[in-house]
């Protein structure tokens, strides 16, 4: 009687009649479940690969009619972009140069400021201040590009005109300045990561030899972290080259190569802004339409190469740190 009550309370862990060894069918089910599940997960993960492939395929597919119809040499070397004239002239060199102009201006400002800020965050400042500055950088990165563009034309452009007496406030300098702000967060966070990855040993060895902080950083830490910093600069460059809204709003969209070449107060046109601006005006399927996709291909190839380079440098930085540890 009492035994029976106990049986009710404590249930047996397994049915006595059932063997703990799985039947071949159960075994197979488990095996299939595991592997099919993995396969499904794998396929879902491959969406990214599919997306990259689709991007390349479809952008190139729409660019192909242009390659067939027009001379690619003229596209790469011509400086006149008159797609609406008859026959249209598609010389993208001035656009490429325009993109380079604003990118170079952006990098000239953003790289020193960014690297120094990264050094400041990783090596100099206390943890508390770091916790204040970090969100600032994150917010800078979070502000949408259209807001930066808005700032460029509504605040910066009138200021440039009144302060420096430029005939127009929307020019290479304006776009470059705003792009530098946009590239800063990328440059800072990537180079800070690589600076922090250099261990204490190097720093302590350097200080132990009597070096000042300046010397430690510039002669030991930054050289040791140079791969990561190069990658940071390249990533910042990608951000600047691929940015659309700011250059569309702030660069003036004049397809010309500034002359003299150092005159940043002139308007320039860039690849991204031309794509964004012209697309609305062109009928689907025209040569102009396909030429814009050709510009897209150009941009895609640019950023792809830059991306590969940055990957290379990041991998090298990782390897180096692995060796040191």
């Amino acid at each position: 009687m009492s035994n029976g009550r106990l049986d009710n309370i404590i249930e047996p862990a397994a049915d006595k009649n059932e063997s703990l060894v799985l039947t071949p069918l159960q075994d197979l089910k488990g095996y299939l479940f595991y592997h099919v599940g993995r396969l499904i997960l794998f396929l879902i993960t491959c969406t990214s690969v599919l997306a990259v492939l689709l991007i390349f395929i479809f952008v190139i597919r729409e660019a192909l009619p242009f390659v067939k119809g027009a001379s690619i040499v003229q596209f790469l070397t011509g400086t006149i972009w008159h797609p609406q004239s008859e026959p249209g002239e598609f010389g993208a060199l001035s656009l490429v140069v325009g993109s380079l102009y604003v990118t170079v201006v952006a990098l000239v400002i953003a790289v020193p400021v960014g690297v120094v800020s990264a050094v400041f965050l990783s090596d100099i400042v206390s943890f508390r201040i770091r916790n204040i500055v970090k969100p600032v950088i994150e917010l800078l990165a979070a502000i949408p590009s259209v807001a930066y563009g808005f700032f460029a034309i509504k605040v910066l452009s009138p200021w440039l005109m009144s302060t420096f007496g430029f005939p127009t406030g929307v020019n290479a300098l304006n776009a470059g300045l705003v792009l530098s702000v946009m590239a800063l967060p990328t440059i800072i966070s990537v180079s800070e990561d690589s600076l922090s990855a250099i261990g204490r040993e190097l720093r302590e060895a350097s200080y132990g030899l009597g070096a000042t902080r300046y010397e430690t950083l510039f002669k030991v830490i930054i050289p040791a972290a140079h791969s990561g910093i190069i990658a940071a600069v390249i990533l910042g460059m990608m951000r600047a080259i691929g940015e659309t809204m700011v250059v569309w709003m702030a660069s003036g969209n004049a397809t010309q190569i500034p002359s003299p070449w150092w005159d940043l107060s002139q308007s320039v046109g860039t690849i991204t802004a031309t794509i964004a601006g012209d697309m609305a005006e062109t009928p689907k399927g025209s040569t102009h339409f396909h030429s814009l996709f050709m510009l897209g291909v150009l941009l895609l190839v640019f950023t792809f190469c830059l991306n590969m380079t940055s990957e290379f440098f990041l991998a090298r930085a990782k390897k180096k740190i692995g060796k040191m540890a």
């Binding site: 794998f42 991007i55 479809f58 917010l139 808005f150 902080r213 659309t244 964004a276």
Partner: protein
């Protein structure tokens, strides 16, 4: 000596690097500060009685009886303005006077006919009226004071004629009388200048064909078709700007030869010195608050209202709705994809070639410029993929959010990967030791533990998606239009709307508060999302610290 230099160098460097951090903060403030301050004036401002009228007419808001009580004294104060301008106009605008007299003459003819007067009487009276008309016309267009006085004397002589009592001709006498008095005060040589300046004054006060004026259209005038022209200055800051233009008009003058023209302001009251219009300017300056009744207004409906006349009035409701729709639809696609991909990459994958390729693709995807995503969305989703399911080849919310989903996929994967990786190994080991399978361990143990981190990633992706403009340019954003009825319709978005209002047509330039208001709405939305993400993350890191 050398040590000294080294110390100085070191200090200098520390200073410079600290400065760079200060610079970053300053940049953030410079970019956001003016924008937020100016943008807040879209919601907080001193609204005038015209604003409340607009709210009543367009959105059925406010208490009508109270508003009528407010309008009445305002209209009373305004009456003086209408009267003084009408009477001054008589002296300087020959064309409108001529038209008026002709009209009256025609009216008189009709009056006679309706009274049944015919025959010789009719001919006599018509002849007399016509004579008055001709005399007056000559008078209006003359610059000779003697001739004018003589003509007016002649016309007023006829006033004694009993037969004209109570007819349209009597109106002509009033005009003649007014004109005679008006002409005494003004210099006839300056008449054209006066007329031109008066036209400007009228445009500023009552609105031109493009821009609304200070007080809105005169009572009795036909209401304009365009809604924005039906009201006066709805905001006190706009009213003050118009007042300044009214009192001190801008003239572009050449100071030096060959130099660009320089704007200069002069007093309009001086321009009209000695005429009966002169007191008007002081009157308007003093009585403007009475005429417009500015009141501090908190226009929170800005975030729900539709826009009127290309954002001249109204709010950003449809834009906010569109942004939310786009973001949510994109998230529906990207969250499962991102989390599952991250789970696979962390839990199931060996470090082999295929995984390396997948990782490389994710990095490539993260590096593709946003405008190329736009091109891709156009070429693939809009022109190829969705038409295959029977949708028309046009931009739609679905196409735009699919494009945005692809764009933000790498961000989502990376954030979730980091979150899943940071779950302590001991959790998993404990679960596995209790007999759970690896799938069950992930769903029941790892995923809940990683959820806050994944949530941070989701919020960051949300803010990225909400702010992107370039990818939706060709795939589903429109500047103007109706509300979307399904996800196959295009929509207005905050990001594209901000671009459009900032660079688009002239109307946007007239309402800077609306331009700034829209961009600030977007920026605040995104900053809020980011602040939430930052807070969430700091709480997670505290929690993780406690565990170790």
């Amino acid at each position: 000596m050398k040590t000294k230099f080294r110390t100085i160098f070191d200090r200098l460097f520390t200073g410079v690097s600290a400065f760079s951090a200060v610079l970053l903060t300053a940049i953030l403030l410079i970019v956001l500060g003016p924008m937020i301050i100016k943008g807040s004036t879209a919601v907080f401002f001193r609204g005038t009685v015209e604003f409340r009228k607009l709210q009543r007419d367009e959105f059925n808001r406010g208490n009508n009886t109270e508003l009528e009580k407010e309008i009445e004294p305002a209209e009373k104060t305004r009456r003086f303005v209408y009267e003084i301008i009408d009477s001054f106009k008589r002296g300087v605008d020959p064309q409108s006077l001529t038209d008026q007299v002709r009209q009256l003459n025609r009216q008189y003819g009709q009056e006679l006919r309706s009274k049944g007067i015919t025959g010789d009487d009719y001919r006599d009276l018509r002849e007399a009226a016509r004579q008055i008309r001709d005399k007056l016309e000559e008078t209006f267009n003359s610059a000779d004071k003697d001739l004018i006085n003589e003509n007016i004397g002649f016309v007023l002589e006829l006033k004694k004629d009993e037969r004209f009592k109570g007819t349209a001709v009597e109106e002509m006498f009033t005009i003649a009388d007014d004109f005679g008095r008006a002409i005494e005060e003004i210099d006839l040589q300056k008449r054209e200048k006066y007329a031109q300046s008066l036209a400007e004054v009228e445009d500023i006060l009552f609105g031109s064909e493009q821009m609304p004026g200070l007080l809105g259209p005169k009572p009795g005038d036909k209401l304009p078709q365009t809604i924005r022209l039906r009201y006066g200055a709805t905001r006190w800051d706009v009213a003050k700007k118009l007042l300044n233009d009214l009192l001190y008009p801008v003239q572009w003058v050449e100071i030096e030869n060959g130099k660009p023209l320089v704007p200069q302001r002069h007093s309009r009251a001086e321009e009209f010195e000695g005429t009966r219009l002169e007191p008007l300017f002081a009157y308007i300056e003093n009585e403007l608050p009475e005429m417009l009744k500015p009141k501090l207004t908190f226009y929170w409906q800005y975030f729900v209202d539709k826009s009127i006349d290309s954002h001249y009035f109204g709010g950003v409701g449809p834009e906010i709705l569109g942004t939310i729709l786009l973001t949510i639809t994109a998230m529906i696609f990207v969250i499962p994809l991102g989390v599952i991909s991250a789970a696979f990459l962390v839990e199931c994958s060996a470090n082999n070639l295929i995984i390396k390729i997948i990782r490389m693709c994710i990095n490539t995807l993260a590096g593709v410029p946003s405008i190329v995503f736009g091109l891709f969305g156009l070429a693939f989703f809009v022109l190829y993929f969705l038409p295959a399911f029977g949708a028309g080849p046009k931009g739609s919310i679905l196409a735009a959010s699919l494009t945005l989903a692809v764009l933000t996929l790498p961000l989502m994967i990376r954030a979730s990967e980091e979150a899943i990786r940071s779950v302590p190994q001991t959790y998993k080991e404990a679960s596995l030791a209790l007999g759970a399978g690896s799938f069950k361990t992930f769903v029941k143990v790892t995923l809940p533990a990683a959820l806050p981190g994944i949530l941070t990633g989701i919020i960051l992706s949300l803010s990225r998606v909400a702010g992107e403009t370039a990818p939706v340019l060709f795939t589903g954003a429109v500047a103007m239009g109706t509300l979307p009825r399904s996800i196959l319709d295009p929509t207005m978005t905050l990001s594209y709307g901000s671009y459009n209002i900032a660079t688009g047509d002239n109307i946007g330039m007239q309402v800077p508060h609306k331009q700034f208001g829209m961009i600030v709405t977007l920026v605040l939305l995104i900053l809020l999302l980011n602040a939430a993400a930052i807070l969430l993350r700091s709480r997670i890191s505290k929690k993780l610290k406690g565990m170790r």
